[in-house]
Symmetry: D2
Subunit: 342 residues, 4 copies
Amino acid sequence: MKKLNIGLAGLGRLGKEYGKNIQFKIPNANLVAVCSLVEEELAYAKKELEVSDTYSNYESMLEHPNMDAVVIITSTDSHAEHIVKAMESGLHVFCEKPLSIDIENCLKVEEEAKKHSNLIVMIGFNRRYDPSYVDAKKTIIENKVGKPFFVRSQTVDKDIWAPFQVSFVKTSGGVFHDFNVHDVDLARWYIGSEVKRLWSQGGAYRFKEFGDLGDADNTFVFCEFEDGSMALLGASRTSSYGHDTFTEIIGTQGKLTVGNPPSKNRVQISDKHGVRNECNETFYDRFKDSFLIQVQDFVNSVLEGKQPECNLENATKATIVTCAMTESFKTKGIVEIKDIMP
Amino acid sequence: MKKLNIGLAGLGRLGKEYGKNIQFKIPNANLVAVCSLVEEELAYAKKELEVSDTYSNYESMLEHPNMDAVVIITSTDSHAEHIVKAMESGLHVFCEKPLSIDIENCLKVEEEAKKHSNLIVMIGFNRRYDPSYVDAKKTIIENKVGKPFFVRSQTVDKDIWAPFQVSFVKTSGGVFHDFNVHDVDLARWYIGSEVKRLWSQGGAYRFKEFGDLGDADNTFVFCEFEDGSMALLGASRTSSYGHDTFTEIIGTQGKLTVGNPPSKNRVQISDKHGVRNECNETFYDRFKDSFLIQVQDFVNSVLEGKQPECNLENATKATIVTCAMTESFKTKGIVEIKDIMP
Amino acid sequence: MKKLNIGLAGLGRLGKEYGKNIQFKIPNANLVAVCSLVEEELAYAKKELEVSDTYSNYESMLEHPNMDAVVIITSTDSHAEHIVKAMESGLHVFCEKPLSIDIENCLKVEEEAKKHSNLIVMIGFNRRYDPSYVDAKKTIIENKVGKPFFVRSQTVDKDIWAPFQVSFVKTSGGVFHDFNVHDVDLARWYIGSEVKRLWSQGGAYRFKEFGDLGDADNTFVFCEFEDGSMALLGASRTSSYGHDTFTEIIGTQGKLTVGNPPSKNRVQISDKHGVRNECNETFYDRFKDSFLIQVQDFVNSVLEGKQPECNLENATKATIVTCAMTESFKTKGIVEIKDIMP
Amino acid sequence: MKKLNIGLAGLGRLGKEYGKNIQFKIPNANLVAVCSLVEEELAYAKKELEVSDTYSNYESMLEHPNMDAVVIITSTDSHAEHIVKAMESGLHVFCEKPLSIDIENCLKVEEEAKKHSNLIVMIGFNRRYDPSYVDAKKTIIENKVGKPFFVRSQTVDKDIWAPFQVSFVKTSGGVFHDFNVHDVDLARWYIGSEVKRLWSQGGAYRFKEFGDLGDADNTFVFCEFEDGSMALLGASRTSSYGHDTFTEIIGTQGKLTVGNPPSKNRVQISDKHGVRNECNETFYDRFKDSFLIQVQDFVNSVLEGKQPECNLENATKATIVTCAMTESFKTKGIVEIKDIMP
């Protein structure tokens, strides 16, 4: 069996999960190198991920003699640069979403990629690999609910994480970039058209700190698509019941929902509170499987030389919309996509 | 419009509801008389039910000059006698279930009724009038789930009523007669065959008082039917979440459930307990509509001269099974229906 | 018992239901008169509703010597005039929603009503009487889900009615007036603030006929409230699964949903299509109970001399918003409420 | 990292899944050998499972110089013999359930195991590793639903597999051994007591072929436990909607259900059939994760020298009950466990 040798950049919480998946759950991949600025993370990788070659410097890792691809799970603001450097080193690239929160940066990476058309470059929109989202897409393709004309999609976090999120507002670019990039991607995927105009609303309804930073703890964005379809994309930091990623797709002949309710498992409890399902705590509880399937698809794509669906162009388009969302939230009116293009 | 003049015997909690239904919700019925041993109840009837003729004696009410039928909502042990007396007075009869908890008594009433074949005599198995149970029956008749071969049906009360129920164990004949007569009726109705053998189990798992009285707070009875079908019939006094009347019917081509979950309405709450439905408090919250539809059917049956489904024979058959259930619980083994017949 | 004598104007499908409720289900009301332009409807009322006094002319009915109040279930465009005439005759008024689809008309009726402050005038927003919607309101008042800041509410009809609806577009004023007046009312009720701005989108996605008439078969309207809350209000004529009135309320501490799924009853079917609930066919199947409770509240309000929640001012405010929705749909941009006020 | 070298016996459909899990998904295990009588399966193992040492003879594989443990996924009738031989070769053993359908055989293996107390011997009751079943157990241990006194558990297969199952009736020992061994195990696990008496019912309600073989297509068994608890254990080969493994646990303070409805994923479809969830096709779709977690636990148990919960004694007790179920089905009466012990 042909195997892909992978270097992993970034060993934070999600990076570690990627490391375990690559090293232990993907038959046709080896984790041959990791890099991190944190000494403990490199020690972890040596011991738990069984990686011999560890680096505290990204560029050094790129010179690894026996590496085919890099997986980039570093902070958002370094994604674009890390992708370009990897391509320049002749390496295939998988990078966590978003590509960048700056449209020009996105376009520059796309431009650079054209010089390396032999390389596979994939951006991680993991929900497209979640079995339920895949099944919904299949149901639409089979025309079982007619032509989709409305998508509601939301990313809702349990309120216990809000205090941590406050400190990330500035680096993450705010709630639209941080929460809605997946929802934008799903809406584009299911509707099959591009966003034309949108109007963002929201506020710091519970945690005033977000308002002080010009951000929000709950938002909804109403979108018009080129083909006349509609979407409502929501984000929340204040759910008392758990992580609630929910998507609804209305077509001319029926409706699909994904994730209602956001139960953590198949147990239902009947007690003095009624009949109830407890819910997922985090996005990773909900999407664990999809992260594995996604990296498996990246590995297969490289080994088979096929371009994945989640390519750079797709990532750029999502960022364009999250930029427009952010702009609309600031200006309190409808923003046209064409008006924010550089 | 031809109207039926009705006298009501019994003005307890359920009797009052019957009174309101007859007087105010049934277009073709008048409540012309009531009787009760309790002075306050008669005063209530005069004022709230707008009945001029009130009686403290059942036999006196039967002599009312302008009465076509009686509705008997008195205590179980007087049902048989009250029915017979009403028939002797030439009156049509609706009586709450059960007919009697004594098989011989049931058979005597049946015998007496043969002398009054012109009279309509109906026993109140209200679940047969619940829109959901009716819909389930229709679905079976339309052969959408094939031939039913298993029914699970249960009557489950919220635990807050258990302290009151302790004092009724002796007069009600115990949990099988009191809780399961409806479940027996539903199982017979959906399966379309008669119980042949059964095995009762149970105990006083939470409220030891019931055990001291030879009764139980939770029971299940496993039944074999003449045609080889099966049923599990349950009763509980210990539900923490609410009144839970649930019925499941498995057929050769599909399955039906009625009442899962036992939500009190269409509101779902998402909070720190998860995603949940609050439940019904009492059987009346669940079956309110069916009580009205049932009495309406009685009135229509009398006015149109048609025999209702819930006749004396049907009621006797249910009592035979609840007697067998009680016997099996005492003897701790399988009881054959034919062995307990008088 | 003091009883209210009521005259009913309009004997269409819904009018007949009002008639039955008033005559047979409301203890403290009598239906003493009806009026209709259709001979068969008056015959129906005599025979089935047991009303002796029938009129083919509204004004004549108002002169009935023994009438305390009128219930107006006529076509929308006559509501305002009928209300005013009834008030001038010294009669209490219940009128089906909407008050009018013209804001000036609404305000004129309000003005006129000030001259008759002794009269009760109620507009039928029946959803406020639906037990589930009432329970949701109670849950909010008890602060169990915190401060509501988002409402999604929608009125969705089964697709089989669309062909009939085409012919009503012109008289009904279009989908926003016809479908969303209840959703506007619910959003205002739960949020406790007024709509400030809104943006309507939609189209004739399945039935092109609506597009030819300047109307739509599916719409969503995104609203901003004075207090910074948000709402998404939807309408659909194309549901394949049934009538789906659904409302979601998100608060700072939790979420409520009403009507998910829109099951017609408590039966669940497991067959080759999966595990499924069949759905309501029409709004009346869903809201039957609320229509009765609503008229009962009107009768009680008049007899007790208390003003109902669903008064003229409330109705005017709903119409203002449905006018703004219609305007936004035409102009394809955000409409401010203050800009459309006469 | 210390790693366990495993040999796999049996490469049928489930055996292959075990092979993939061991080789590719368990960090601390290597699949070093496989054996099968089928040439194609050995070729598959070489190519897809990357195993160099393949055997067509079980005994030969046991002599592999570098093997710590065997995983036995062969036919039921060879389990006991294969386990004993592995122990005699000094190897740790994981074997698929059931240990044997013959009680004496089970006891002989237990006897033999006493001579090899240094070896870990685990029987695969995978449902104990399913995250939902684990969560239910945790909820009970935390006393959130009080003391469990009733378990309903069932194994229900989609009807499309019935034609295949007919040919396995003789070797599998019939529906109770084949379907209910897991349900027996779960009931014992949750109730924490042993079955004392039971009564089996059932029939060939849809597929007469099973009746001709003395077997059934649908069965229910009503069990009494030593501590007075109850269970209803069901099996079905005729589900039209999918694989439906469902377990309900009633305690003195609440109720748990696992697997209701048996949805295949988080997608809900609203179309002309209503609002519905499609269901799992096979037990493997439902329990895929648990098979991996289970083998991981076996590997960890061996490496850490700890005895797993799913030991031989546990397996013997499950077989005793499935033997009693089979006996009761034949004799059509209550069977006492003590009466069938050898």
